[in-house]
């Protein structure tokens, strides 16, 4: 790699050196004769150079006034040639004299070029030559700074202005971004230190109150006694209040029985419940969710009416937490508010609601079947999942009745519920599903048939297998057939020597693959 780098570097140096050689070489100043003649006309007198008119045989010509001799300027000779001597009557040419000696056009051109290269004459006219030798002329120029006048004149050039503006804006933005991050980091570090400090302040008094006071004493705690433990001045500080809330909630999660009640009483005595409820009106969604979490954790039923306002919030997080809190805090949980939700229910929400409903199901009458009549398919699907997960066998009959009228996706979920609970369904439910065009539905129904099916299902499975379904479905159906009717299974396996079939058979017989 190093060798390659050196080679590249040397090559670049070589290129640069060659470039300077090329630039240093003498180039023709006048690319053609016309440019030289134009130059002579515009330049006027040139030291050492004179002109005279001669005829075709090289003899000096005399004009009508009888005057002749050399002329200092080419333009004069040119005018003389064109005006005095008529081109048709006399053939004349301009002869070039260098220091009074005649020379050819090329030699004169070279002479003038040398004068220019050496800086012996200064260019008077416009750029009639190729302009490559300006450096020698530039060296004659007296230096004047580019920044003449005030500094702002420099930015009059639009391109410079744009570049400068971009750099400035970029620098300002860059510095602002970094300063913002540094300030943010510093504030966060400061907050963390403060929190750790307040946490130390709080632990002592909190333990003391919890262990030394009864619930009644705590509820009738005087302001004086309260502020002795938690100074009023500190309570007004947002960070202190936040640490106190977080600490109480954390303890509440871990504690049981009387301690939980004491913590809730203290929460209210410190007026933290109003703080939590106030958060529900915040314009920031994160604050609203924090408020909902606090209300949920501390069972603040007084905030329930405010919570219910958020159950149909367009914000996913607010909506999820509001529904979870409503489910948790309502005395008589009526799932109609969930049934009427228009937003689709995500699996994340379903998981959270399931945890709460599972907990409530043991102590309250929830009427899960309310969800079956929802207009929202995701809610109906959630209802079927609840039947399966909570083991609500008594609702299966209702599902069976609905089965024919629901979508394939719902049929799949209903079949899963029957299979999971091990309750045999009507033969038609599985048979109709296995005859569907929807492969997913056929697969689920075929799989369920293996667990809760009967002979009629086995016959349908056999019929489907004879149509050579896709490999995955074949495996599922054969497994079910093996469970339902071993004789029929063996009959099917032995009548066909298809390699796929034999491989599936081997798979199903392998004890290591029972759950694969």
């Amino acid at each position: 790699m190093a060798v390659r780098t050196i080679v590249v570097f040397v090559f670049l140096l070589f290129l640069l050196s060659k470039a300077s050689i090329v630039l240093g070489q003498d180039e023709k100043i006048f690319p053609d004769s016309t440019s030289f003649v134009d130059f002579l006309i515009s330049q006027g007198e040139i030291p050492g150079l004179q002109f005279q008119l001669v005829n075709s045989s090289g003899q000096l010509l005399i004009d009508s006034t009888g005057e002749t001799g050399s002329l200092a300027e080419f333009s004069a000779a040119h005018t003389l040639k064109n005006t005095i001597y008529q081109p048709d009557s006399v053939t004349s040419t301009i002869q070039y004299l260098i220091f009074s000696e005649p020379y050819t056009f090329e030699a004169t051109q070279e002479y003038v070029s040398n004068l220019l290269r050496n800086g012996d004459i200064e260019l008077l006219g416009n750029e009639i030559w190729n302009g490559k030798d300006l450096i020698s002329l530039a060296s004659k120029e007296i230096y004047t700074p580019l920044l003449s006048g005030n500094y702002f004149s420099y930015f009059a050039d639009l391109k410079i202005f744009i570049v400068a503006l971009t750099i400035s804006l970029f620098l300002v933005f860059a510095v602002l971004m970094i300063v913002f991050m540094l300030v943010f980091k510093a504030r966060r570090n400061h907050n963390e230190k403060l929190k750790a400090l307040y946490d130390q302040y709080i632990v002592g008094p909190l333990s003391e109150i919890l262990f030394e006071k009864t619930l009644e004493e705590l509820e009738s705690l005087s302001d004086e006694e309260l502020f002795k433990n938690f100074p009023e001045k500190q309570l007004k500080k947002a960070v202190f209040e936040q640490v106190l809330v977080e600490r109480i909630i954390a303890l509440n999660k871990k504690m049981k029985g009387d301690f939980k009640l004491k913590l809730k009483a203290l929460y209210k005595r410190l007026d933290l419940h109003t703080v939590s409820i106030k958060k529900l009106n915040s314009s920031k969604w994160a604050n609203v969710v924090i408020g909902l979490v606090e209300i949920n954790e501390m069972d603040l039923t007084e905030g329930l009416s405010e919570v219910k306002k958020h159950v149909n919030s367009p914000n996913f997080h607010i909506r999820s937490q509001a529904v979870a809190t409503t489910l948790n805090l309502s005395d008589s949980v009526d799932l109609s508010f969930l049934r009427d939700q228009t937003f689709p229910l995500s699996r994340w929400q379903q998981m959270n609601y399931l945890r709460i409903i599972k907990f409530l199901n043991s102590s309250r009458e929830l009427h899960i079947n309310t969800l079956f009549s929802s207009e929202n398919q995701s809610i109906r699907l959630f209802g079927y999942k609840l039947v399966r997960v909570l083991g609500l066998v008594d609702l299966l009959e209702e599902l069976e009745e609905k089965f024919a009228a629901v979508s394939d996706e719902e049929k799949i979920e209903i079949i899963k519920a029957f299979e999971y609970l091990g309750v045999p369904a009507q033969s038609s439910m599985l048979n109709d599903s296995m005859r569907s065009d929807n492969v997913k539905l056929v697969t689920i129904a075929g799989k369920a048939a293996g667990a809760i099916g009967d002979d009629s299902n086995a016959k349908i499975i056999y019929e489907i297998l004879e149509t050579s379904p896709v490999f995955g479905l074949q495996l599922v159906l054969l497994r079910s057939l093996q469970n339902l009717n071993a004789g029929l299974y063996n009959q099917f396996i032995t009548k066909d020597s298809d390699s796929d079939l034999q491989r599936i058979n081997a798979h199903l017989l392998d004890p290591l693959l029972q759950d694969v």
Binding site: F170, A174, R347, V389
Partner: protein
Amino acid sequence: MEVLGIAFLFLSFSVIVIYLLIMILSTLEMRDHRRKNRFADYQDIITSPIAPGVSILAPAYNEGESIVQNVKSLLSLHYGKFEVVVINDGSKDETLAKMINSFELEITDFAYYAEIPAQPVRGIYKSKNRSYNRLIVIDKENGGKADALNAGINVSSKEILACIDVDCILSHESITRMVRPFMEETHRKVIAVGGVIGIANNCDVQDGTVTKYRVPSTLLGRFQVIEYCRAFLMGRMAWKRLNGLMLISGAFGFFNRELVVEVGGYFPKTVGEDMELVVRMRRYMEERKIPYKVSFVPDPLCWTEVPEQEAVLSRQRNRWMRGTIESLQLHRATRLNPNYGIMGMVSYPYWSVFEKMAPVLELLGLIYTMVIVIIGDFSAFYFIAIFIVFYLLSILVSSFSILFEQVSYNSYKDKKDLNKLILTILLEPILIHPKIVYWGLGGHWDFIKGKGGWGQMIRTGFKKSDDKKNMDHDTLNS
């Protein structure tokens, strides 16, 4: 010359504007992510019957030295419904033998069906020991990483595929956190979720998690820490905000299995199989007008050792560049095509100009500068101004990414480590960036020569997203 100058100036401004936008978008996205995380209880997912099952696919080639430890680490992840599918891709060392011995594996009569074409499978193993019930080992002919993953997909049975490098260190929480985006969306289907790859060089690892972060000891290693922060914490978070992610790292990516199978799995004839799959999945969804999302989780959940030797790193960068070129080439039908939404109109052009063409444009810029120096049309003012802007831009973006990491996760707590990173930030544009450009150009050159790729096919490209699926087995394995 004037036109070229204006073009380069425009390009320079575009780079600046894009980086500033990336910084803003990633900040907003990270803020939202952290807010959401405050209320998430990941414990529920582990046991919930509603959580999706996950198949972890880990291809292994000559990993004999560490395979047993790595598989044990995978088996100990905290999640309820998951299986670990290790694919021995024709290793020439003791990878398979060590797994057979350590996990009490036995060959089974697994009815393997190549729904996605892959090299022949020699055997599928399961353990007699119920403790290793989640483990499935596939032994197959060598066919490369993409081919091994395709074999794994054929055997997998869960709803989500977690495609990882077997030598990656995964946090115990990795599955729960990566699965969340799949469960959260209500109006769009989440087709894939990418994760951050942290750098484990020089760090302390305990029980499958990095417990103490230290920056790598070499300049190249430290450069990669900065680069990873830029790419993962900034770049991908910004693209996530726009739903324009086109790349999910092959070392740690989660995919919807059904869709992966539907599009025909990985394309084994490209070295950029990870990017190619994501682009193809996105095309599939766009062509069928199904609302979808490619998500990203910025939490540190996966770590890997990065190469610190120049030769290894150069090969990796060469491969990445070829992968990018091949993926873009294969899907050039999406370029500036409004039918492909954000991907066609924003992500693809960005990748084409600022990722694929970046080294070429930098080289052209250098040549242009040399030419104007030679012909004398050179303005020192513009040159110095542009040089300063880009040096500052590099420092700004890198510093921001490190600060971003510090504010979000604060992994590098030691001030000495931070100082080393700052020094690396200052040196990177001068000492390392030219090499990265050079290696990128090497990737272009190798692509032109047709190295490793699949010449004609890649040049022709996929007309539709399911072209790959419709290719027959023999063609794919030719």
